[in-house]
Chain length 409, copies 2
Amino acid sequence: MPIFQSLLDIDFYKFTMGQVVFKRYPDVPVKYTFTNRTRRVRLAEVIDENELRRELDHVRTLRFRNEELDYLRGITAYKPNLFCEDYLQFLKGLQLPAYHLEQADGSYNIEFSGAWAEAIYWETIALSIVNELYYRALMSRLSEFERDVVYATGKIRLAEKIKVLRSHPDIVFSDFGTRRRFSREWQDYVIRVLAAEVPQQLLGTSNVALARQYGLLPIGTFAHEMFMVMSGIMHGSEEEIRASHNKVLQDWWEEYGWSLSIALSDNYGSDFFFRDMTPEQARQWKGLRHDSGDPIEFGEKAIAFYRRCGVDPQEKLIVFSDGLDVETMVKIADHFAGRIKVAFGWGTNLTNDLGFDALSLVIKVTEANGHGTVKLGDNLAKALGTPQDIEYFKRVFGYTRTTYQELRY
Amino acid sequence: MPIFQSLLDIDFYKFTMGQVVFKRYPDVPVKYTFTNRTRRVRLAEVIDENELRRELDHVRTLRFRNEELDYLRGITAYKPNLFCEDYLQFLKGLQLPAYHLEQADGSYNIEFSGAWAEAIYWETIALSIVNELYYRALMSRLSEFERDVVYATGKIRLAEKIKVLRSHPDIVFSDFGTRRRFSREWQDYVIRVLAAEVPQQLLGTSNVALARQYGLLPIGTFAHEMFMVMSGIMHGSEEEIRASHNKVLQDWWEEYGWSLSIALSDNYGSDFFFRDMTPEQARQWKGLRHDSGDPIEFGEKAIAFYRRCGVDPQEKLIVFSDGLDVETMVKIADHFAGRIKVAFGWGTNLTNDLGFDALSLVIKVTEANGHGTVKLGDNLAKALGTPQDIEYFKRVFGYTRTTYQELRY
């Protein structure tokens, strides 16, 4: 049975971004590129190319079913009519665009090119496929009992997480683990358990299919690609490139208003972000998402930023989503208790903690509108772009940070 | 579905003893009594009496099926025609005798009275039932996920055991865990895993149904009840009572010869045993079973005993079966390596190590032929009998040991 059974088995932010893209920039040509940041693992020696193609091909045969679109249409938790009919009709006709796949140097080059409005949906789907095929291959080398022990290890570790969460009832979190999940089945299990065991602390899940299945809130706003593609769309003078950052925030607010106003804050580094976000935006937006660099330092900067803007930080929310585990969440929650609202988007360590090392796989937009795209972040280990483009964007955005912290996940 | 699906779901020694009893002492009136040595657990507050009765009643509806008797008939690993046709025909007609059950002081009094030839089969069956109902009740108090975690814990601990066993390939063992198993299903799982993962080290299982199912050797010789009932049969002068001990060895040798000649060595303490076993028996018998007291001390005494009898200890086998875990097995195996053959009968810690405390439940013969019965052992914490009978038997058997070591299982 193919891994993907539904196009809803995808992160919610693909739809919230997807609608903005559909309405405003549908035809911008983009290219997404797969990267395995875990260099020591030679994926092509583990994952069979034919199997990988079969899974990707199968996704291209999937279409949104009416009842799936009905579900999207019916989501009212953020605002009424979150998704417009035009967009839902567009989804109804959508086939994911062709992919390009080749082996190179023991790994796979995978690229997804096309109109932004269509290519945008591949990201978490393709990542989930590569992850699941990789762990399936590792599992196939084990005995039946050893495979049992893998799941047993996952359950014990999940139980340990739940124990810590229960002893910190102030911690609230969402599952952000679709893209890095050990398997679809395992993510399903984890969500089912969390929904039963810590219902007051599980805010929801980024996985739309699981949100639907378990009656949870689908969670997500937007990703780096919004800034990255926008820099390609507005690729003119340095000033225009810099302006592309705030254009993303303006578009987003125009589309969703307060309901989904969590701003990803590190694309060109948080120093630039806090210079770029206006006091009015600071007052309007619900909060920020932290995705790289030291979380405590970031939170302190955010608090100071809000105070400078005359905003009470206690009214604002930071969603932390960078390489979390329970210890990190406890540390962050304790540090900011009573000072600013905190929530967590918990990924790899939540859905892929069964004893195997996690892979750090990403699919990021690398070209937009004919230009190379760049993410800098607050940790240069997560930077994306050609070396020349990175240097250029550092200059454009006044980026001075030199932090380089090896990734845990 | 009732716990017991087959009368073969029982320890093999019930049949090897059962045949001796059937042929020689079928009508001796005996009484077996259930005891929970784990006093802090009030079983009647955990296990529903009706459920317990239902399970026991169901066992009384079971009969040996033809294919089950065919299996017993076909066992040739010990000697041809191990079980005679008369005995197999007796089994075919067997219904387990009535039980007596009542609540008292938060626990259950359970007794099985009748002719020895019929009452003998209740022991491991009734123990397995009480154990499984107890753990079912504990499990029913947990959430679905917590129950998953119990099994996960069991698997992780089994994996740890297998890891240690593999690093000590000299350790060979049998499953003796039927009576204390967490559940029938779990014992089945453990045996299936061990048969696949450490086939060279798993000698077999005491559980006849599982031996049959997985093509393993059924393992077992005889239990304390042989000595205990024989003391009732020969209950005359002190000399006659003392002679009842060797009579068991003589009967056993007459019935099975070398093939099943592992002598349980602690019923009246190993000091008496080594005085009572003759040099000829020492030469003839395959070896000894240790079931109480310090295992290293016992092994050293056995080696000295064999040397005194002019027997090379390296040709003899000790089966250790007292409260084992991997650490104890490693210690014993390392200590006696190259000096005497060693095997292990691994019970509670093998089939009931999922995070719950194990119960120390026993069913022992308490009356035989109208007399109270006594087991002394090398650890008085495991002694059985009324205080008066124990004192009397100590005197009769010249028992001087004062060891009292709290039981782990």
